[in-house]
Symmetry: C2
Subunit: 342 residues, 2 copies
DNA sequence: CTGTTAGCGCATTCAT
DNA sequence: ATGAATGCGCTAACAG
């Protein structure tokens, strides 16, 4: 049995109300009583019970985070930003990794609701119908990070993927590359996949470059699919001097595959990534990539969440996070890179 | 206001006790009543309040995890193992990233206690005195993963770092390398740092190799300190043909620095890592490393935690996780690697 | 300034 | 098989 407020009250010879006031720093007690009580708390080693508090106060100072995957540089960076900010604001965070499984995410939603979280951050994939309904039925505020819902108006914080891909492509074009291969995310991913694909195509078009469908391949954002992507590209026997991968992991995958094949980056081939996770920094050569401010996005997400919570308003104010190109070593001016020709 | 058991009871025309029994599958209700109640629950969209349950039932089905850092492949892999197993057992997990700061970890411990977690998994660094005392005072079971306490008898699951380092060194020796450089963790880290250092030294000694202190440098397990490590080694102007880094991140750091310096791995230099995180797989060239079964260790940790909890026994049964060497591309037979000579 | 009381939502006796 | 009542630990009126 743990030691409760009652024990403290008895020990200090006061009522529990007084102890409660002192613990919560509410007005209404004398200096001497305070000392007495504080001493009792100290002596008994009293710790308030947050569960009991949560029951009466109807707030748990807890938020739930749904991630498709918690290992992986992308999600963990995001999580770190979330956790850091949440702690600063006095909140704890439940992590749920849905593994992109709908049933798991539904179970998570259920559990988080039962545990009375004060808010939820959804960083998982696209919403299914069932998930959307569950989310709608939630009484706590919810914000999306690095994703959004096309069908439900939940506030989100994310970069403009279309624009970022557009800018990245333009960057490559600016560097003189004309035959650019693209490795995208899943094609049916309307949030992180499609917009980047579109941004790429539009930039090419605006610069008067034709799109060669043989140079458009798709993966799942993971390392292995980047390797596979380059293999497919190579098999297409179509010339290209640069590849734009939709994630750093995939970009590193092409670096790895290029290494296996004896293709030198950036001399033979330019590579551009997306995310700017630690993988980009650690890559050989260090990867030029489009940065998403992941930790800041995590921070923004909880800030937004708490703001909504305070205002009790469903104030749908989305936040566009800024992307930027961080230049490292994998993209050279076209004239310095040979390109892959057949 | 959310909908409670009382609402269900009223709607179904029964008492809350009956509803409670049905929800918790306890004996004592008729088939017809059950249907009635279930229907009401369905119609009203009732969700039990885990906070209230926690208050009366004195268990929250929640565990707390303390990590020094949540981004980073090492911790996130561990976390994934923990979360997956916890969920399977019906538990949720609070993540706290202590950032290796003592005050933060103390704050976390405090919060987790207030939130009445059923157990804690400590994967942070060494314990300070204050932390140790706090942990001792905790009423819930605690297990350590990938670390341990020399001063407090908490059960742990970890690999035998000494032995793993010994084996890794022997492996390098077996490959014909004789001048081996070592990049360790912080020297005052008695858990993850010192034992590996010792294992390395002992293996060298047992094989009749002298230790050259100029070839022993120390970092903080992170990428940048690996880069710096190689720089220091190079500055020492002492020949060596292999380096054994105490973490994959550091090993990749040496790969990166070697690349910058035009040193070819594995032709000029062999590199051995430690952990087998995704960084090893993604490295160029793919990194030969000593694997810690991180996800399994996470799993074991929660299993151990729950076992202790059920037995109410402080049964201190530690678990030694198995390490193994996974050979990739960074270590060649000595005769095939030139080595760095001055 | 301080004590008394009434719940918060639920599981659990103890009756019936 | 079911209901009424008690209390988990705490905060928030409401009295003094």
């Amino acid at each position: 049995m743990s030691i409760t407020i009652k024990d403290v009250a008895k020990h200090a010879g006061v009522s529990i109300a007084t102890v409660s006031r002192i613990v919560n720093n509410q007005p209404g007690f004398g200096k001497k009583t305070k000392e007495k009580v504080l001493k009792s708390i100290e002596e008994l080693g009293y710790t308030p019970n947050a569960i009991a508090r949560g029951l009466v106060g109807r707030e748990t100072r807890t938020i739930g985070v749904l991630l498709p995957k918690v290992s992986g540089l992308f999600a963990s960076k995001l999580l770190e930003g979330i956790e850091t900010t949440a702690r600063k604001e006095g909140y704890s965070v439940f992590v749920c990794h849905t593994d992109s499984k709908e049933d798991r995410s539904i179970q998570d939603l259920q559990v988080l609701k039962e545990k009375q979280v004060d808010g939820m951050i959804y960083a998982s994939d696209q919403l299914s119908l069932a998930q959307g309904q569950l989310l709608e039925a939630m009484t706590c505020p919810i914000v999306f990070v690095s994703t959004q819902s096309l069908t439900h108006p939940f506030p989100y914080v994310k970069v403009d993927d279309y624009q970022a891909a557009y800018d990245g492509t333009s960057y490559l074009l600016t560097k003189g590359h004309e035959q650019i291969a693209f490795i995208g995310g899943e094609q049916d991913d309307l949030i992180a996949g499609k917009p980047r694909d579109k941004g790429f195509r539009q930039a090419m078009k605006d610069h008067g470059m034709p799109i060669n469908e043989a140079l458009m391949v798709y993966g799942d954002f993971r390392f292995q699919s980047g390797k596979k992507g380059l293999r497919q590209l190579l098999a297409a026997k179509t010339p290209f001097s640069a590849v734009f991968a939709s994630s750093d992991e995939m970009a590193v995958g092409v670096l790895s595959e290029a290494y296996d094949k004896g293709i030198s980056v950036p001399k033979d081939l330019a590579v551009l990534g997306y995310d700017n996770t630690m993988a980009a920094e650690m890559a050989i050569p260090p990867l030029t990539t489009i940065a998403q401010p992941l930790d800041d996005m995590g921070k923004q997400a909880v800030t937004l969440l708490l703001t909504i919570r305070e205002n009790r308003g469903k104030a749908i104010s989305n936040i566009e996070a800024e992307h930027e190109i961080v230049e490292r070593k994998t993209v050279l001016l076209r004239k310095n890179t040979k390109g892959l020709f057949y």
